[in-house]
Symmetry: C2
Subunit: 326 residues, 2 copies
């Protein structure tokens, strides 16, 4: 397949567009992953914290013929969960948030392309040691979990690292990529493609409540915060460097900066958060989305988003051709 | 003048390249501003905290014929300092970090183009109310003072705002733009040009110590931190939302997260910081630079940096033309 934005990523994975679905825990189920792959991107199921029953159900929902992959939260992954997915021969296996090296041999042995999402240059060096086929450089503007570096500087810096040390390793940009301008910018910054979270979270196929999607559509990009309070509420022991970007609301306004207090005496608040989360309530729990929420104004089918993103990117690049007459 | 990257910014200001020097306090003196303007960009003297004697000296060093402007830290600006600079008929006047509206009428009355650097969409709306000719959208990856939003999402979101509400207002991207890839990415994200800080801080004409420049060249982009501790050490009462990005060192490792203690009992540490700053010592004080430090590997003349940035941007855009044969 070739599209208007053919890159090494589209060639290597047989894609129409250099767009990979971020394997967002809970939100990127089989339905969304299959829709992205059917639209010419690479769909990844959000294996998240590694619940085998949920992952099995998502692969079933995607369907036997869906060319989808899967992603996991590395620090929370167990060998047997990884092996269970690898037996399905996923199109790709992504690891993020932790050291991928202990798991990499199993992925390589299965003949599955290893994608490593990284948040720093130091992470990227570790991903090269793990033998990543694709490094996904994720900036802090991303929704959900991430670290501190920004997409705009991390992508070219990792591109320089790969050019010097591993030129066959591909590079995707993640964090803030929500339209054709972002896709085009990622390519000129040195990426071979993009990983898209928030914009595909805000589609009809995503496993997200209507109320949370409506909250995201209504918000501008100033309305998010990167914090750990929802992980404390869920009793998830994330490594300290990884916080999550969500829409600010009463919960984050109350507890962000008071993490110790929430941990020690916030049981009622934590229970209310969890009940709100189960109900998909953006006021009582939190809506996981990035700064790109300010670029999203409708909930559409994933294929519509992907086609428009690719078309707009081609237009943005054509409009900026340096040889254009003005 | 026209260069390979002609935009509305180059046309409006008569530039060869769509590159504006960030008016970095202390570092962007008359010598650097004049060098940037002579190279076809728009040089802005870093009026900073508004010391009239220093600003006068910088305009004198730039020279009578230098088409340079000046920038100020808005929350620290006084009317008489602004008026003193406006009487010099600067090429442009930039305000950042605070509400520009109280000062805007004086700038308009002087017939000087008003540039407003903004850190959020809310700031951008305020800059439109101030009648800005150019809005500079600054991401948190920038060196020195800034806020939380990222360049990659803030630029297209502000571009959408301007398209809807004030299409004649120009837009520059700031924060992380250090080479031709960044310039090209900013243009496809919707900017008419870029404001460059760190990369021009790291030039021969900048008023920066050799030791600090050497520290920046040696650092990768993971090595910075956004913090307030150096402002506490200097007794500068910055509004809480604005922190500054610097190279991490012993001082930031010791005090970041212990701001109250530094304020209450850190007099010795503050004195040592100030002595280190006066000496240009990157170990005892701090090196103000952004994440782009990881993209900088030499101290060169400003003209060399600007010419290469423009040339590389044209190349990056040409290489990504969607109609290229592969």
């Amino acid at each position: 397949m070739t599209g208007p934005l053919a890159t090494r990523l589209t060639e290597r994975f047989g894609l129409a567009h250099p767009i990979v679905l971020a394997p967002m825990a809970f939100a990127a189920g089989g339905r969304l992953a299959a829709a992205v792959s059917a639209a010419g991107g690479l769909g990844l199921i959000g294996g998240g914290y590694g619940d085998p029953a949920w992952v099995d159900a998502q692969f079933a929902e995607a369907g036997e013929d869906a060319a989808v992959g899967c992603g996991f939260i590395t620090w929370h992954l167990r060998d047997e969960v990884l092996d269970g997915v690898l037996r399905r021969r996923p199109r790709a296996l992504l690891l993020s948030f932790g050291d991928p090296r202990p798991f990499a041999p199993r992925v390589h042995d299965a003949g599955v392309p290893l994608l490593c999402q990284v948040q720093t240059v130091a992470d990227a060096r570790r991903a090269l040691e793990a033998g990543a086929a694709v490094i996904v450089a994720q900036g802090a503007e991303a929704g959900g979990h991430g670290d501190r570096r920004a997409t705009f500087t991390l992508v070219p810096e990792v591109a320089d690292l790969l050019a010097a040390e591993s030129p066959d390793t591909l590079l995707c940009a993640a964090g803030g990529v929500a339209d054709g301008r972002g896709l085009a910018a990622a390519l000129v910054l040195g990426a071979d493609g993009v990983m898209v979270g928030s914009r595909l979270w805000a589609t009809q196929e995503a496993s997200v409540s209507d109320a949370m999607q409506a909250a995201a559509v209504a918000a501008d990009g100033d309305a998010t915060v990167r914090t750990s309070v929802m992980d404390i509420a869920r009793s998830l022991r994330w490594p300290e460097r990884f916080t999550a970007r969500v829409l600010r609301n009463r919960f984050t306004d109350t507890w962000h900066g008071r993490e110790r207090e929430l941990r020690e005496s916030g049981a009622d608040a934590a229970r209310e958060w969890s009940e709100g989360w189960a109900a998909g309530d953006p006021d009582r729990s939190n809506t996981f989305i990035g700064e790109a929420t300010g670029l999203i104004d409708a909930i559409e089918p994933a294929a519509t988003v992907i086609e428009r993103m690719a078309g707009e990117a081609a237009t943005a690049l054509a409009a900026r051709r340096p040889d254009r007459s003005r």
